[in-house]
Symmetry: C2
Subunit: 506 residues, 2 copies
């Protein structure tokens, strides 16, 4: 094997492109949720690496035979689970960045990697109308960076908040530091707090309720902080969310920042999924108040066409942000970075090695253009709205949280299964069965969450290949599985349900 031989590279590369094009062409034929049993691959692959080289043809045959059956098809138009991760032209950017495979830990190791990252982060910052203080082009000391995931953004910003405080009050007070979130905040918040050494009992969660749409209440936060201060805790950090994982709830940024400003806390805004929607003027109001925050992040790999793993983070104060983890290493020294003429991105993250991520994001932004991006977001939101309409028209079902973006949270109501309004336990069991039966068909894949003790089915639109017909089909599938599970008495119960709903004025 002659590595990177242009003739051979071309032949093999084209072969894989054709393989993937065929995969996309046939993707609807595969069950969306993989139907294999645990251990299927462990049992079928050899125990040891092969002694001799094998051809790409042979390997691709095995990808088809062994790997594809074990894939849950995130690019299937019938994938409505979690939040979608559906790149398109970013794929070409991934090819380029993997072809160059530069390790851009400082400016000189590949100037284009550092500078293109600054460029795309500026472009996005403008599109999202982030406050100029977050921008590296202003003199305010802010800046943006591409990380892997939101988890990294949380660890990093929380660490900055911790170190800033400890520099002021002394390291011996570490055990007093407290960080705040709601019970809807992503679980990686807890991971981040654990990693940087916040006492477990000082990870403070404000409870939310369905009646207030699972929003983090500024009043409850303020009360909690006041009580904590009384017992000697020091509040340092709040994570507010725009578009929570379970229901896409939106925390009231402006009022929350008013509260935290009294206590000099770092506020991070996590808009992992919904941030992308805010590229459209009609959704931008969900970010109102972000100008009071210390940092903001969203995942380009969720809804902004980009391959895994690509989280965009901006901070208002880059010296606070990078100070805790700046390293001096002669090996990695770089005059341009040291002179302040370039950004030294290795000080902006945990790892020193960095992929040339900006290239794929740049590719996505250019090949779609702002109009193309917005059109795509609006199309997904429209499809979710349609699905919401379908749910509303079937009286056996109920919407469980407001639909702001492209997520619909719904369930079969306790009425429909002949139970009282408050019998969530049996409704939970029923809806779990319903979801499992939908997914077992392999014709669509949705996931669930549990909020306020209630099991909800989550239907997310966000895959590039999804069209209206897939959404309609998914809804019909849900309906028919529900009908079959509700059994022969369904009609009766539906009538009862309609009757009750009317009585309650719903």
């Amino acid at each position: 094997m002659k590595p990177l031989d242009p003739v051979e590279f071309r032949r093999q590369g084209h072969m894989v492109i054709d393989f993937l094009a065929d995969y996309y062409q046939n993707i609807e034929k595969y069950p969306v949720l993989s139907q294999v049993k645990p251990g299927y691959l462990l049992e079928s692959l050899p125990d040891c690496a092969p002694t001799y080289p094998e051809s790409v043809e042979a390997i691709l045959k095995d990808v088809q035979k062994d790997i594809i059956p074990g894939i849950t098809h995130w690019q299937s138009p019938n994938f409505f689970a979690y939040f979608a991760c559906s790149p398109t032209s970013s794929f070409l950017g991934e090819m380029l960045l993997n072809g160059f495979n530069v390790v851009g830990f400082n400016w000189v190791s590949s100037p284009a990697a550092t500078e293109l990252e600054i460029v795309v982060m500026e472009w996005l910052s403008k599109l999202l109308q982030l406050p100029p203080t977050f921008s590296s082009s202003s003199d305010g000391g802010g800046g943006g960076v591409l990380l892997g995931t939101t988890c990294e953004a949380l660890v990093w910003t929380m660490l900055a908040a911790k170190e800033k405080t400890l520099d002021q009050i002394g390291r011996e007070n570490t055990y007093k530091l407290a960080v705040y979130c709601s019970d809807q905040t992503h679980v990686c918040f807890q991971k981040a707090a654990k990693i940087i050494g916040i006492q477990p009992e000082n990870v403070r969660k404000v409870l939310t309720t369905r009646s207030t749409n699972f929003q983090l209440s500024p009043k409850s936060l303020d009360e909690m902080i006041k009580r904590d201060l009384e017992v000697g805790l020091i509040p340092i950090y709040l994570c507010a969310t725009v578009g929570t994982t379970s229901t896409t709830a939106v925390d009231p940024l402006a009022t929350l920042c008013e509260v935290t400003s009294k206590y000099n806390m770092w506020v991070h805004v996590d808009a992992a999924y919904a941030g992308t929607a805010c590229l459209c003027p009609e959704f931008r109001h969900f970010l109102d108040g972000v100008e009071g925050a210390s940092s903001f992040s969203f995942n380009a790999h969720k809804w902004l066409l980009t391959n895994l793993a690509c989280c965009c983070l901006w901070v208002r104060n880059k010296s606070l942000f990078t100070k805790p983890l700046s390293t001096n290493s002669e090996m990695l020294a770089d005059k341009a970075t040291e002179s302040g003429k370039a950004v030294g991105y290795k000080e902006w993250q945990i790892s020193l090695s960095r992929r040339f991520q900006a290239l794929k994001l740049w590719m996505a932004l250019r090949s779609y253009g702002v109009t193309g991006l917005r059109e795509r977001i609006r199309k997904h939101v429209k499809m979710a709205k349609d699905f919401e309409g379908f749910v509303n028209m079937d009286t056996r079902f109920e919407i469980m949280a407001p639909r702001y973006f492209s997520l619909v949270c719904f369930r079969v109501s306790p009425y429909a299964i002949g139970k009282h309004l408050d019998n969530d336990h049996e409704a939970n069991e029923f809806n779990q069965k319903l979801l499992e039966s939908v997914n077992a068909t392999g014709r669509a894949y949705m996931t669930n969450s549990v909020v306020g003790g209630v099991y909800i089915i989550r239907f997310v639109v966000g895959v590039a290949l999804t069209e209206d017909r897939h959404v309609e089909m998914a809804w019909k599938l849900v309906q028919s599985q529900a009908t079959s599970l509700l059994g022969t008495s369904t009609l009766l119960k539906t009538n009862l349900c309609n009757h009750l709903k009317k009585q309650l004025g719903m």
Copy 2:
């Protein structure tokens, strides 16, 4: 734009493959080290994202015009800097994993992603002859995981060591915890300690010397730990290195583990670069003693043909390892993982999202086979050995550390510039100038380090395209630049140098 339309996807994909094949074909025409000035790209690209979609043709033209001049060509056969990152067939695996773009955070989200990771980690574990206790197929409770980088491996294992100890002695003793490394350990050790909240003064560095080849001395470590215990510190963690960044020094694992076992410490073995060499039987002895360690990692993206960023980590006790950061999330719940039938890899790392990294590693291992991998490693080592031979034959130069693998550390000796043996300061200045003049030609790229106060030039072989002729050319370039810098009196000085060397019996 119709996303993922098979016809369009095929056309664009083939276009990028051809672009990259041309890039490899022409790669020797580009200066290895990018010659642009800071700000070159910021000045040439527009301030805002484009409003309307642009064609892939137009974007590729700009990659050629704007990006390639700003790339330091890590895939150039004349790249001898840092440690190389030179994938070949892993590129095809990257295409596949980016095409599928599954988010394998638990088993069900893509069973193949989890199971193939187990398979390749088992393959590698056998090839490296790691102790069976590290293997997930034994009952010993060990296992392997693919992370991004060594930095992550260090944070993660250090956190496990910390939490294990605090569970025993109480969280209020956090400030007493101490972690150990040598002054040759990678800088990310300090980052890791800072992140998890080890007191800065408790990050304990054992000093190394040139006379002992920059090895971490078990005796010095033991003495340091004893002194630390006397003042009340609690030693929890040691990072030993097989193949340090500056000189590829190898710490004596067996003796170090004997020391640490007395104190019940976690020992992590970082073989980021050199681990790959240990796939060859003749290098495996460098890992002798790893059976006493708690964890072991190496970077497949350095020398094992794999694209960034891919670090292989094994731990002996997976429950200690995953306990600190296991999260319960209804959204991400997965029956197969919970039943213990599958590995839940989201508990093995900081982030929840995961790329399907195993696919590219599997592709690399299969397309090379064990024989192909070993042949490639041996070829690189042979070329480094040849370079070392060249250096030894020119009396103006000296080798500054033993060459174990494919890194040669050398400099122009103080003799040759007419200085005394111990005048490192001027020798440092001279060698820095020499390196800068070599890199400024654009015909080769090497980097440097400073060890024991001495500036050394590092010459690493590891790029797929590098052949004997490139190594020879690089050496001639170093020689001619040195001759030109040493000026007309070089010959005289060389003679003097030879004279002195003989006198000293060197």
